[in-house]
């Protein structure tokens, strides 16, 4: 019986000569694989290995040792940040997950009414690849917004009647109609918006800020994430912790999520019979053990763990104070509305965000899910707006009257916009909207941005950018600029690249948005 070519039989060893490959290759192999060649190659390999051993440390040192941004400077922090005097010291990011429909809320297109149920011209869509949800549609009927718009504020900005509270503060807002992204599906788009990259594994904006600017209050996390309770009537796309993860940065810079229930941090109180001194002693011993481990293994994550234990200890006293709203005056409830008393609502989270801003939390991100209105826009959009409109208004107004808006940047954004054409059936009563990456509306307010402007123009179908596009990268670069950071210099060496929030593709600070 013929020996199988890949058989591992000691007596009949397999050589390339026994493989079913062309005869020419076998000859070449036989000619090349001489003893001299083998020894020569081995020598070279050993030489390179020795060289890597000698100098390798120089090349890969940066990992785990923090950064090498600039030279250690006498001013600023250890990273030499902020690069210049910032306009904003902290930021609050209201993230509207799912993709709010821009033409139903901010991007006023009066000419759409006459286009009702007419097919959107192909020239508008061009050769765009649509999502699987509408790519098969035979028609792309234009669905004008169901709600009237009105002009508000001294600036006469058009806002939908769905947002009566937001309409009151338009003179404070920097509305960007031309934000645009590269991704058309939720996960890549939301990753791009939060981390500057569609692939998972990169640090998010908050982690970059925690790493770069550090904490202002040692007793609270630098970066806090608040989730809003979901409403079963809404189409809730999941958000996952990688959106506030620290990627390749040390995990102490990751966002600390507070629960949306009545107990924001579980097991915060010491267990019965354990007093503060005992808890302190226990933590000191654990720290000792961790330090031994760090000395032995040298994994930087051990450092992160030590820091997290310490933070948790301090949070035992700082978080109850933070979340105790009983001392808030009546004027607070008048502003935020009665809903704010219920933990987990958007208004409640906005109130917490204001309290965090007062207490020196660098970055707060509030997630509100449910904006993914593929169908029943008329049914769900009013609920979404009712849930978020007053909270956002109250937050900006409250920050302003307390003198915090001067150095706090508030950001309101989703991961993309929605299509002007209806997904599924269009009727006089209802319609649906698919994902739309080419333009969507976002707004900022406060430290560093110019109040009372609307930036950028879209076409009559709110489909393409006509003037002044703001890519997600530019959006993030502008946020960093407001916080005193030059996005192109704020880097971290990882995987052989100077990694940055704004990705290797060039990004620009949008000067037109700045105060």
């Amino acid at each position: 019986m013929k020996q199988h070519p890949l058989c591992t039989d000691c007596e009949n060893p397999v050589t390339p000569l026994g493989l079913p490959i062309p005869r020419g290759m076998k000859q070449q192999w036989a000619a090349n694989e001489t003893r001299r060649r083998f020894l020569g190659r081995s020598g070279k390999v050993l030489g390179w290995a020795a060289l890597a051993g000698l100098f390798g440390e120089l090349c890969v040192r940066s990992y785990g040792e923090g950064s090498d941004i600039g030279s250690p400077s006498p001013a600023g922090n250890a990273l030499g940040l902020p690069h210049f005097a910032p306009k904003a010291k902290r930021a609050i990011y209201l993230f509207m997950s799912g993709g709010p429909p821009q033409m139903d809320l901010f991007d006023y297109k009066p000419s759409l009414a006459a286009q009702f149920n007419k097919d959107m011209p192909d020239s508008i869509r061009g050769n765009q690849q649509l999502t699987g949800m509408t790519a098969g549609q035979a028609h792309f009927p234009v669905a004008p917004p169901h709600w009237p718009f009105g002009q508000h504020g001294k600036t006469g900005t058009w806002v939908s009647s769905l947002l009566p509270y937001t309409a009151r503060m338009v003179d404070e807002l920097t509305i960007i109609k031309t934000t645009n992204t590269d991704a058309i599906n939720h996960e890549p788009a939301i990753m791009l918006m939060n981390t500057g990259n569609m692939n998972a594994g990169k640090p998010c904006l908050g982690a970059w800020l925690a790493y770069g600017l550090g904490s202002m209050n040692d007793n609270l996390p630098t970066f806090i994430v608040l989730q809003t309770k979901t409403n079963p009537k809404e189409n809730n796309q999941p958000v996952s912790s990688r959106l506030w993860g620290s990627g390749f940065l040390s995990s102490e810079y990751a966002g600390v999520g507070l629960r949306s229930g009545s107990d924001p941090v579980l097991y915060l109180a010491d267990p019965a019979g354990v007093d503060r001194a005992v808890r302190r002693e226990m933590l000191d011993t654990v720290e000792q053990i961790n330090r031994q481990m760090l000395a032995e293994i040298g994994d930087p994550e051990t450092n992160a763990r030590i820091a997290q234990y310490e933070m948790a200890f301090r949070m035992q006293s700082s978080v109850p104070e933070l979340t105790d709203l009983t001392k808030e005056p009546q004027s607070t409830w008048d502003l935020y509305g009665p809903e704010a008393k219920e933990p987990g609502t958007f208004a409640h989270n906005c109130l917490l965000a204001r309290r965090m801003a007062e207490r020196g939390v660098r970055f707060t991100q509030i997630y509100k899910r449910g904006w993914d209105v593929h169908g029943d826009v008329v049914g769900t959009l009013p609920i979404l707006c009712q849930e978020t409109d007053r909270g956002a208004y109250a937050l900006v107004t409250d920050l302003k009257r307390r003198g915090l808006l001067d150095d706090t940047l508030v950001i309101w954004a989703g991961e993309f916009g929605r299509t002007v054409y209806s997904q599924g059936g269009l009727s006089q009563e209802n319609y649906g909207r698919d994902h739309h990456p080419r333009c969507f509306t976002t707004w900022m307010a406060g430290g560093g941005v110019r109040p009372g402007i609307t930036y950028g123009e879209t076409d009559d179908y709110s489909y393409n950018v006509v003037k002044d596009p703001v890519h997600v990268r530019d959006f993030n670069a502008t946020i960093l600029h407001c916080l005193g950071i030059d996005h192109s210099k704020f880097t971290y060496k990882f995987q052989g690249l100077d990694q940055k929030l704004t990705s290797p593709v060039p990004a620009h600070v949008v000067q037109g948005l700045l105060a």
Binding site: H83, F84, A85, M216, D218, R359, R401
Partner: protein, 478 residues
Amino acid sequence: MIAAEKLWAALKLLRTRDVSPPWLWTSGLSVLLVALPFAVRLDGQQHADWLQFLGRFHPLLVHLPIGLLVLLSILEVAANSRPNLRDAAGFVLYLTLVTGAISLIFGILLAYGGGVVGSTVMRHMWGGIALLIELLVCATVRPAWISGRIERAYPTLLAVTLLTLAWTAHQGGSLTHGNDYLTDYMPGPLKRLFPSSASDAAYAGSVYVRRIHPILDAKCAACHGASKERAGLRLDFYELLMKGSKDGAVIAPGNPDHSLLLQRVTLSPSDHHFMPAEGRTPLSPDEIADIRTWILAGASPTATSVPGITLIAENAELPIQPVADYSSLMTEIRAMQSSQGAKLVAVSAKPSDGLILQTVDIAFKFDDAQLAPFRRFAPFIVEAELGRTAVSDDCFDTLSKFTNLRALHLEGTAVTGRSLSKLSSLSQLRYLNLSGTKVTSEALGPLKGMPNLHHIYLFDTPAESSSQATDSTLRSTQ
């Protein structure tokens, strides 16, 4: 005729052997060199492209004779202990001479071909010519020095040559990098020795001075200014701007479309005539629009308002006063932080942006007594975050020493406003947060005259209701 007579006299001298041939060569060449600028007159016109092409190698070539001249001096000194270097020095001297001559020619090609004129250019050129003549003389006297016939002349001459080199090189540096290249980042005390140049003082407060001149100064004056007058055009003073270039006026008052200046800056950036040239930062659309509006309105140097041009309000945001460098105090600052618990945080990586006093970690126990030691760092503190601390009205005694303070947070403290008048010495103060205190509107009286204080927050105070009429709780917008 006179020249011929002189030549004849020189030849006679030569015949009588009073003057040796090298001296004759030296004087002849020196006369030629001095005559060169008169032969090749720098007329501010651009000439053949190839002249400029070659000329642009001048900055490259010129560093060779510079290095050689320095090397020559080193060799001459070193030869005192190692005599065999003396020969090398002689060779280097001739090499310096030859490369220097080539550099000079290329430099003149650059200035002539590119149509560059201006006082710095002229100084640089004459410096170069003087340098070459000095080198010629050096080469002439050196043999006499070697043979011991003269002693001091050659070293002195060499020293003078080096000084000339330094001066000429500085002129050249000012041409390429701008006049303030060296003084821009000079430490404060040194900088005061070099006062900055004046502007059109007679037109103070006008749209021209506040809006138009700064644009021209930032974007154009590097080539059209005192140091370089490309195309004979200077834009650093109103009269010179209106005088125009060698081709005539560049501003046609009331007629932006016929204003050469505006035409040049609005061309396509790829156009050969586009300004600013050589890849410098172009004017922004806002800047172009304002220049157009200003020309349309008559290009007046005195008009204090032109419809369509928004000036930054004169008293709104005065330029922020830079703070002195605190880097040398870092050890003390750290010691203070660890002893007091409160932090002094840098505003940015630039020390001149100052420090922020942060007390949030220990707010509940931070009182007047703890604040007092920070007087030590008073001039560096630009922002004091004392919100929700235990400070009282007595804190103003310390705070009044924080002369560079721009923002003061006192929200939620026990201050009553009784001593607010002590803040009136803080001319830089822009932001004062008194929310949640017991401050009344009467107590705010002394703050009225403070020029920069535009942001006062009085939310949840007795003063709030009365002040809402004046809208002072609201953030003022530019």
